[in-house]
Symmetry: C2
Subunit: 326 residues, 2 copies
């Protein structure tokens, strides 16, 4: 199959009506009244964002899900995406069908379609890029900016599985293997991160600021608190590491350093968000009712600096290169 | 400068309000009532879409202008774009400021802004991708589908300069150099193609189908006529090659083959469009009044096959690999 046939065979079946059967140079979308559009771009480079030599469904799912995660963190609903693929000509025929399969599964699960794109044969490492378009009710996008001093800091879901999954994906050992742990759940957390759409109502109603946990919760909360001219103070013991990640950390020489590593790694793709203190109980109630895990992990306090960590009663300053006592 | 500083320094000044100062993971756009959105993605790979070793303003201008050309061909007006950059870490600090300068010049000229993106350090060839969002009055996008048997085929502007410019850009000789020809105009046609926004009114009012001339007019008209279940019949002598390209072709061993090469190369980025015959005079009049060059080059006739060429009174079939007598 040549490039046109591959597009026709693999990608055209994924197109929504906006994609005009991928027969046009542009997609056509009629926006709904009283909605804003939320638009995000994520690029995956082979060997940087996924292991060398991986090209199939896993890569596609992870790429689309990381984009979906951005829309979820903004309180949005996904609509459609444009896909750029630059990959080795020799690999296209073998891998594009699998890649498309991964997109198909994911777009069906989250309700969006392919609207267009561009496919190019290269001679070196693969580069994929998705621009995903979503909608939110007018003026209700939850921005990264919007937190203020005194606001609570929350995180959804659990942390840590993705880092261990990444180690497995890159053929590194996890030692010790936590007792009774299903290693597949680590791998799954890495390859198929869960966009936090179930938290949409909580975010739209209560969040003053939000971002997905892509760079590690400590880095992501820094971005939010900097825009609030404040300092994020995190109760380290409250961070909701998964049971498997906890068990792994407890088996390392220094359990705190290992937890710090988990909190700095990223790729968890939950949402970190802030809210006013007076909404604290309402958030707990709403989460409990919906059977969602939302954990209060700290607050935005006056001060510069990135993140202040309260670890076993001791204040620590965190920097991306590690942490130190203050 | 690290990656964050480069983005802050180079790209943040290009951001429109929708880009939220590039401080968020997503852009926020409030669509205008009674408008549709037209969305297109183009990807440039080093060594494929621009010569190896070129990374600066020229590449950025060419990339953004090819995207703009798609929006222009659909009768649209550009709004904003998301940019994906994957380039060698060592080259970023030297070249991203120049790359951003090229974007700045182009977006100022055509009235759009940067809404977001993603920047990644790679170790191999550069890959850039732009997703450009434009608007058209509701239901007025000119699609590639829409032509019918009997419709006229038109092309805007002149053809051929871009191919000669590409030769210069890749250090190939142009021989003979047309008498009195300013070679810079060839280079300029290649690096700074002119999106056909001036033809917007003609397209919105009369075009039944349109596409930009990106793959060569013969290929681009094929895409249109195939969707019309017809065959594009082109009066080869009517194709509006530039004076410089004409002079170059006349200096070659076989002037027809050379013109065929010019018509097959692409990158001209005018618009090829179809219209009903009864609008022919009105299009001539409207173009003359606006001092725009629109040339009637053929019509959509019954038949399969790609393009039929009328060359010096002889019918020829065209294939992407060349042409042959029938």
């Amino acid at each position: 199959m040549n490039e046109f046939e591959l597009i026709e065979h693999c990608f055209a079946p994924l197109a929504g009506p906006e994609g005009l059967r991928l027969k046009d140079d542009a997609a056509l979308y009629t926006p709904r009244e009283n909605y804003d559009l939320v638009i995000t771009t994520d690029t995956f480079v082979e060997g940087v964002h996924f292991p060398n030599g991986m090209y199939g469904a896993d890569v596609a799912e992870r790429l689309l899900r990381t984009n979906l995660s951005d829309i979820a963190a903004k309180g949005g609903t996904p609509l459609g995406y444009l896909l750029s693929v630059a990959m080795h000509a020799d690999k296209m025929e073998k891998w594009l069908p699998a890649f498309a399969k991964g997109l198909e599964t994911t777009q069906a699960e989250f309700g969006c379609t392919l609207w267009g794109g561009d496919t190019t044969a290269t001679t070196t490492q693969a580069v994929y890029s998705i621009t995903l378009i979503g909608e939110v009710p007018r003026d209700e996008m939850v921005q990264r900016q919007g937190a203020a001093i005194g606001h609570d800091i929350w995180v959804t879901g659990v942390l840590g599985d993705a880092m261990l999954g990444c180690r497995l994906a890159t053929n590194q050992l996890i030692s010790p293997v936590p007792n009774g742990q299903d290693l597949f759940s680590f791998e799954s957390a890495y390859w198929r991160p869960e966009p936090a759409f179930e938290y949409r109502k909580i975010l739209q109603r209560f969040a003053t600021a939000a971002a997905d946990v892509s760079d590690g919760i400590l880095a992501d909360v820094t971005h939010i608190s900097k825009l609030a001219d404040g300092c994020a103070t995190i109760n380290f013991d409250a961070l909701p590491f998964s049971l498997g990640a906890e068990a792994w950390a407890d088996g390392q020489d220094d359990a705190i350093t290992s937890r710090m590593e988990l909190a700095s790694f990223g790729d968890d793709y939950g949402v970190v968000f802030t809210s006013e203190q007076m909404d604290r109980q309402a958030i707990f109630d709403m989460a409990r009712e919906a059977r969602l895990k939302a954990t209060l992990v700290g607050s935005v306090l006056p001060g510069s600096g990135a993140v202040s960590l309260d670890v076993e009663g001791q204040a620590m300053a965190w920097a991306q290169t590690g942490y130190r006592h203050v």
